[in-house]
């Protein structure tokens, strides 16, 4: 299996299943993720994509003009190039994906499906997987379903107008929680591991070679693979154009959403967090207006607003504990 940059280059040359017609915001990280998924699934296997209700769904699966999924301008000649995509209800994508895998396996078991096992990919927002959809998400993992669960984490319910999400870092402004609150993000990686996932990773497509590796490994996983994709939301976070990939990288470097990879039964690893010059969280916060009540930029320097030092310190403390916690999880 190729690694890193060579794999990224190889995937870039494959037929993409994600194309024109989507209405994602300019600067949205999801489009980058979808292109990577669209290319990685061009691997000689039929692809079925299940989408929970989310930005990614409403912006790429709009009849009749906005269905952005499918390889080529016309339906391909080979079933292995084809894509079946379904949106069911908000929180159900993992369960629906599991059903599709079971159906394919059962048909294969009696000789009714003779092709290679299909790629079955579930796509959820962080609300769809970790708030309203936590039941579906955990139980599909618990049953060890052979599906790849991708969860877009933009720390908000972006699709419905940037409401509070349990994945949000503390004190981020949300439409239902102005100024944010002290609750720390739900331990989505820990939950996935203890539920029994075979492969758990967190990575932003801002780290393109690593992202290619992880997507490829998730599709190859023989049990449940879970990939969390921290995804800067230009509309909800309110940052300057051109900062999407950089913010995705900063989320990792600060320790707030570090790149992480662990295979069941093997030591995990935390990646793209500099050990010696880890940037403070206010480098990350200051570039998003959802934290404008805490930190602002003066030139290129973050400045904590007077009286808001405790909140920023609390976020920094969370980032520190988060790294320590992920280190413990990696050692499991």
């Amino acid at each position: 299996m190729k690694k890193g940059l060579p794999l990224f280059k190889e995937l870039a040359l494959r037929d993409d299943a994600f194309g024109e017609g989507h209405t994602l915001c300019p600067g949205c990280e999801e489009a980058v993720t979808f292109h990577a998924l669209g290319r990685a699934t061009d691997n000689g296997k039929k692809t079925v994509l299940v989408m929970g209700t989310s930005c990614g769904e409403v912006s790429t699966l709009a009849y009749p003009t906005g269905v952005a999924w499918g390889r080529g301008r016309e339906e391909p000649d080979q079933v292995e190039k084809s894509v079946g995509v379904i949106h069911h209800v908000f929180e159900s994508a993992p369960t629906v994906a599991e059903a599709i895998r079971d159906t394919a396996d059962l048909l294969a078991g009696v000789g009714a499906w003779s092709g290679p096992p299909p790629n079955v990919v579930s796509w959820s927002g962080d609300g769809g997987a970790l708030a309203i959809g936590l039941r579906s998400f955990l139980h599909t993992i618990h049953r060890r379903a052979r599906v790849a669960l991708f969860v877009n984490i933009n720390e908000l319910f972006a699709n419905t107008g940037f409401q509070y999400s349990p994945t949000g870092i503390p004190f981020g402004d949300a439409s239902t929680l102005p100024g944010g609150g002290p609750a720390e993000p739900i331990d989505h990686i820990g939950l996935s591991l203890v539920a029994g996932a075979g492969f758990v990773a967190q990575v932003s497509p801002g780290f393109a070679p690593l992202f290619a590796e992880i997507v490829d490994e998730a599709l190859r996983c023989e049990t449940t693979a879970v990939v969390f994709v921290p995804s800067p939301c230009i509309a909800g976070w309110k940052f300057e154009e051109g900062m999407t990939a950089e913010l995705g990288r900063l989320a990792s470097k600060t320790g707030l959403f570090p790149c992480f990879r662990k295979r069941a039964g093997q030591p995990g690893e935390i990646l793209h967090v500099p050990a010696d010059r880890r940037p403070p969280v206010n480098e990350y916060l200051a570039r998003q207006r959802r934290f404008d009540h805490l930190v602002r930029l003066e030139g290129d320097l973050p400045v904590v607003r007077a009286g808001r030092e405790p909140e920023v310190a609390a976020i920094q403390a969370y980032a520190d504990r988060n790294l320590a916690r992920l280190s413990r999880l990696a050692a499991l």
Binding site: E75, H87, H88, V89, T95, A99, T103, A104, L106, R135
Partner: protein, 460 residues
């Protein structure tokens, strides 16, 4: 993969013929019954047996809830015996997950039949997904509802159809059964109706909890070869049938296609639309549901020809050959008591009565019922579930006979699965006969229990 051929199904995408070899699944099926067999079974078992017999029912899913649990337990036990190659019972963590799961199976391969059984708040818990399924076009879904009162406060686990009636608008074809033979025979016919390309609507067979789910009776089980032959023949006959309604999505002049599945197709299901497009989708859903009336008649005729028992009838009529003066319209197992009492009603009350038992709840057989009630002087409608007004069934009956002068008395009885006793039936018949003599209903609604009118509301 073996040779596949792309077949365009505009505007749904493409199907890859040959990518799924359903003949292989058919060949893997191990028949449960090689010849016609008579067994004593309860209602839940009668509803489970077809899923063991259909080669298309490769996967069933479930989550236990009283009084439907035996359906799941029976299937799990049979499959666990190990002689069910090509079958799987999937246990999930909640009813909502079950509904999501069967949507996935049904969408993955539209040639399969996939089902579950639930009840009461279990059906309520499925609601979000069930309502989506109802609009999905996935006619290969069967949700068996074992009727039980919904809404705790107070909890009551006996059977009344408040769950079924609360889900009238979920988009399913809803059929009410009574007795094990009717349950079994109805199940055999429903996929032929729901999967017909003119209908493509999921189905919800139902029977009352406890009274029918747990009561045993003699069941004639048909051999698997006949059960599967009936369904295969029906689907083969229906394939490419001229559309009954205009499919606003299909190309002009195209026959009704079954859209591609996710595994064997290049397609998208469940897309977003603007409200402009939504109108067309909803119109098509309504038209497909309406088309079920005609398809039910075709399937029922074929069923009777093959098996020698009556096919699914939208309404059962009893005593209507005697030109009844009053009619009692009801559904569910307590109808049997009323039918048994027809002679006594005539003798004691001096009135000829007929009993109309509603089988097809959705889409409601308005035309058939109107024809049946054409000559009666008053109608008593028996409702077994809580309703804010005169009763779910009353509203449908009143619509069916709108413009007629026959008064309609609305009764509630058997709530929470209570027995509808002979004294209750006689009291309701007497009240209906009085309305016929008076030419108008006496009260807006009445609650009758053990022959006593224990509550009601006067007309305003």
């Amino acid at each position: 993969m073996e040779s596949t051929a792309r077949r365009l199904v505009p505007p749904y995408g493409a199907t890859y013929d040959g990518s799924i070899d359903l003949d292989a699944l058919r060949a893997a099926h191990r028949p449960r019954f090689l010849e016609r067999t008579r067994k004593a079974v309860d209602g839940n078992t009668a509803a489970a047996i077809p899923f063991l017999q259909w080669w298309r029912a490769a996967i069933v899913a479930g989550f236990p809830i009283t009084p439907a649990t035996k359906w799941l337990e029976h299937l799990a036990a049979e499959v666990a015996r190990g002689d069910a190659r090509g079958k799987r019972v999937k246990l999930l963590e909640s009813e909502h997950a079950v509904a999501d799961y069967i949507a996935g199976v049904a969408a993955a391969c539209r040639g399969l039949v996939v089902g579950t059984a639930t009840s009461s708040v279990g059906l309520d818990h499925m609601t979000e997904s069930i309502r989506s399924l109802g609009a999905s076009g996935l006619g290969n879904v069967i949700v068996v509802d074992v009727c039980r009162a919904t809404a705790n406060y107070p909890l009551c686990i006996e059977g009344d159809p408040s769950d079924l009636l609360a889900h009238r608008d979920d988009g399913f074809i809803q059929v009410v059964c009574r007795g094990v033979q009717q349950i079994y025979d109805t199940l055999l016919q429903l996929p032929a109706i729901g999967m017909d390309p003119r209908v493509l609507t999921p189905t919800m067979p139902s029977y009352y909890g406890i009274k029918d789910s747990h009561r045993s009776g003699a069941l004639v089980i048909e051999p698997d070869a006949e059960v599967n032959g009936f369904l295969d023949d029906a689907l083969r006959t229906a394939e490419g049938t001229s559309p009954l309604v205009e499919d606003f999505l299909a190309a002009e002049g195209a026959a009704h296609p079954t859209p591609p599945g996710l595994l064997d197709g290049d397609t998208a299901l469940g897309s977003c639309v603007t409200s402009d497009w939504f109108q067309g989708f909803k119109l098509a859903q309504k038209q497909r549901l309406s088309a079920a009336h005609r398809v039910i008649a075709e399937v029922a005729t074929a069923f009777e020809a093959r098996f020698g028992r009556p096919g699914l009838s939208p309404i059962e009529l009893h005593g209507f050959d005697q030109r009844p003066e009053i009619a009692l319209v009801c559904m569910g197992p307590d109808a049997g008591t009323a039918i048994h009492l027809l002679g006594r009603i005539r003798d004691q009350l001096g009135v000829r009565a007929g009993v109309a038992v509603v089988r097809l709840l959705t889409p409601f057989p308005t035309v058939d019922l109107a024809a049946a009630l054409a000559g009666v002087h008053a109608v008593g409608v028996i409702n077994n579930a809580h309703h804010h007004g005169r009763g779910h069934l009353t509203l449908d009956v009143e619509e069916a006979i709108a413009g007629r002068t026959a008064p309609v008395e609305a009764f509630f009885c058997g709530l929470g699965g209570a027995d509808v006793s002979t004294t209750t039936w006689l009291a309701m018949a007497r009240t209906t006969a009085e309305a016929a003599a008076r030419g108008r209903a006496g009260r807006r609604w009445r609650l009758v229990h053990e022959g006593l009118e224990i509550g009601g509301e006067d007309l305003r």
